[in-house]
């Protein structure tokens, strides 16, 4: 009887109801991952058969086939090294620019900041056509250069610049002054004092930059034509039979391979990762 419940019990019941409701809402967020893993282990015949989360027989062979179908290991490595390169370059360039905008006095600082911010608003689809010709003119079509240059110097780099600027502005200035008195050059103050104190901001920039590059699709689609130069997202979309219909069991196995490592890292560092997005989201 409800009437006989104490205030505390009532609250507990309410909490349980809420939790159950949240669990239901969570289904479309979690289930796709589970179904992806499960279906990646099924054979082509079972995949659209009677739905079952546990495959009747685990077809680990799918994972071998993924690597035989196209140079998937190579493509995986491409994604990895490109994302790492983009991240390192972005960290370097955007923390330099962010430092100048936060700390150095020069005519035109406000104008430069305004210009950069305005670029954040413009979708890459607007500039992709001229950039395509630019890259082709530079002879960099079907290389990884555009996948590195466009993000680093595009909106990703600018987001990084403003994240860093914001963080530098909040740092106490006296440490950097002490560095100057100790004889550090401007570059030295930045490198040896400002940067070591900015680890949280650097981590945030690194996280969002890495993920952005890892998930990049439009640029590879436009610039890359050779299979062994594909990056993961492009490779994933490429598991099709000769008539263009998807080879689901392979595609899902490959997608699992692409998604799981990121998801693992996310589960371990979810707090830090979510905070990084919150930080960059507030800026944009």
């Amino acid at each position: 009887m409800i009437g006989s419940l104490t205030q505390r019990q009532l609250r507990a019941v309410k909490q349980i109801c809420w939790t159950l409701a949240l669990c239901v809402v969570a289904i479309p967020f979690v289930f796709p991952f589970l179904w992806m893993i499960s279906s990646g282990l099924k054979g082509p015949s079972e995949i659209f058969g009677q739905p079952s989360l546990i495959p009747t027989s685990f077809r680990w062979n799918n994972y071998l086939e993924v690597f035989n179908y196209q140079p998937f290991a190579r493509q995986y490595f491409n994604s990895l090294y490109i994302a790492v390169t983009v991240t390192l370059l972005t960290l370097f360039i955007s923390s330099l620019a962010g430092y100048a905008l936060a700390r150095l006095r020069f005519a035109g600082a406000a104008l430069v900041a305004l210009f950069l911010v305005s670029a954040l608003m413009v979708p890459e689809e607007v500039t992709i056509i001229p950039n395509f010709f630019l890259i082709r003119w530079l002879g960099l079509s079907d290389t990884h250069w555009p996948l590195i240059l466009l993000p680093v110097f595009g909106s990703q780099g600018i987001v990084g610049t403003f994240l860093m600027r914001q963080y530098f502005l909040a740092l106490p200035k006296e440490l950097e002054d002490a560095g100057k008195m100790d004889g550090l050059s401007r570059f030295g103050v930045w490198w040896r004092i400002a940067l070591p104190m900015s680890r949280p901001a650097l981590a945030a920039v690194a996280i969002i930059t890495f993920l952005n590059s890892w998930n990049l699709f439009l640029e590879p689609l436009i610039f890359i034509s050779s299979l062994e130069k594909f990056t993961l997202p492009l490779a994933l979309s490429n598991f099709t039979d000769p008539y263009g219909s998807p080879l689901w069991h392979l595609q899902l196995a490959a997608t699992t391979l692409a998604v799981l490592p990121i998801l693992m890292v996310y589960l371990i560092a979810q707090r830090q990762i979510i905070e990084s997005f919150a930080l960059s989201g507030v800026k944009g």
Partner: protein, 344 residues
């Protein structure tokens, strides 16, 4: 040579004039203290000397060099910051040796200079600790140590003790005084604290709104303030300023005097009929060694008096006495009239 010369120094931030023409000579080995109300430009002036702020106009010399455009590290000055500004990722030894390392001083010499400074400041036992493992006073000593190892000509301090508690502040104050005696360097020191200024300084510079109000020894400033601002700024509780008419009872006034100043500690209480001026106690604050009385004068002004020992209760009528050599006379512009002293 480490004298210091400021000639009509000016600093402008955007459209705001922060330092409006400061001229000052600091002799070699002198201990100079900058005081003034908050926002008057003390830190800015200090940072201009250090090179952390550039000079808008005027000339700044250290020794024989005009250093307006010389980089901070090449001026032969060292600075101790209010927040200590110790590098959090370096231990005490590396914090102190950092500047030497940047300047490529050989490791052996670096080691030696750090040890010397550590011994001087009794930091030997703390050399391997990190700043977060130190108390406020210890951090302050490390900050001073870092300044010492560079063997600078001039030390600059910006409110170095203001983050310490009262007791430690007194202690560190005497350590800084001892350090100055021992090293004999020129030191420039910014503070909010009157007592620090009075005890440490060979010479006090009172600033207001980016201008110098008066320069002098602590005694000169206390005994012969140039104007009402300095008179009230130096000394605590601050000097009573009375209209000449109300203070007529204290004795003859030089021509042109419109106000008369007398310090609370220079007024004595007597029976109402024996006083030069009469009044009534409004509030009596007991502070331990003495009491601070707020007295409403018969002429209507309020006046502070410090009395040792027994103090009268509120509402009692009292009389006030002041010695003529303790009176300060000011003209309409608030400038001191020194003739009163000549009359003695």
């Amino acid at each position: 040579m480490s004298s210091l010369t400021l000639r009509n120094l000016k600093k402008r931030f955007g459209r705001v004039d922060v330092i409006r023409g400061v001229t000052l000579d600091v002799a070699d080995g002198e201990f100079v203290v900058f005081v003034g109300p908050s926002g008057c430009g003390k830190s800015t002036l200090l940072r201009m000397i250090s090179g952390l702020e550039d000079v808008t106009d005027g000339e700044l010399r250290i020794g024989n060099r005009v250093v307006n455009e010389v980089q901070p590290a090449k001026r032969g000055v060292a600075m101790v910051f209010q927040s200590y500004a110790l590098y959090p990722h370096l231990n005490v030894r590396d914090n102190m040796g950092f500047g030497l390392k940047v300047r490529k001083v050989p490791a052996a010499e670096r080691q030696q200079r750090v040890s010397e400074a550590a011994a001087l400041l009794k930091l030997d036992a703390l050399l391997d600790r990190f700043p977060r493992e130190l108390s406020g006073g210890q951090r302050q000593r490390v900050a001073i140590g870092r300044a010492i190892v560079g063997h600078p000509d001039v030390f600059l301090f910006d409110e170095p003790l203001s983050n310490l508690d009262a007791e430690l502040r007194v202690h560190m104050r005497s350590e800084i005084a001892a350090l100055h005696k021992r090293l004999g360097n020129t030191m420039i020191y910014v503070t909010h604290d009157q007592v620090e200024a009075m005890t440490l300084a060979d010479k006090i510079v009172v600033l207001r709104d980016g201008r110098i109000e008066q320069v002098g020894s602590p005694r000169e400033l206390y005994e012969q303030p140039d104007n009402i601002f300095v008179a009230q700024f130096i000394g605590s509780p601050k000097m009573n300023i009375l209209p000449a008419g109300s203070a007529a009872g204290f004795g003859a006034q030089p021509a042109g005097a419109v106000s008369v100043g007398v310090r609370p500690e220079h007024l004595s209480l007597v029976a109402p009929e024996k006083g030069q001026i009469g009044g009534k106690v409004v509030i009596s604050e007991y502070t331990g060694a003495s009491s601070l009385l707020h007295i409403r004068l018969d002429s209507g002004e309020t006046c502070l008096v410090v009395v040792d020992g027994d103090a009268p209760e509120a509402d009692m009528k009292v009389g006030l006495l002041a010695g003529t050599d303790n009176l300060h006379h000011f003209d309409t512009d608030g400038m001191a009239l020194r003739k009163s002293r000549l009359l003695m």
